[in-house]
Symmetry: C2
Subunit: 73 residues, 2 copies
């Protein structure tokens, strides 16, 4: 449950994309940890929606609604 | 700006970890898109915090506070 599915290298690129000049290794690892946690949370909520709809397959619409629930906006 | 830094394969594993039996390809792609978007948002907020602290390097503590701001809880 604790192993992250997202790797660290893309996190550096993601921060550069956001405009950062430099990103510490610890910051990249923290972003990886956080996005993994958010991802599992969204997937769990999406699973609830799929089960509620009588399906065993998570569909894109389940992820969409779960993501909206997870975020402030 | 639109190219996602996170890949699709880990999204399937992330959903399985959340307890899903099956995940559609479109759902995995949507989760990838959403996490990429959330990641950039968190990184941008973290960058603001680092600049506010007179640094040019994003540190783990910037990511932590940015992630708390981005999520509902």
């Amino acid at each position: 449950m604790n192993k992250s599915e997202i790797s660290v290298a893309p996190m550096h690129r993601l921060c550069k994309k956001a405009g950062a000049e430099r990103v510490s290794e610890a910051a990249a690892k923290e972003l990886e940890r956080v996005l993994n946690e958010i991802g599992v949370e969204i997937a769990k909520t999406a699973l609830d929606y799929s089960i509620h709809s009588g399906r065993k397959t998570i569909k894109a619409k389940d992820i969409e609604i779960a993501a909206r629930k997870a975020m402030r906006k």
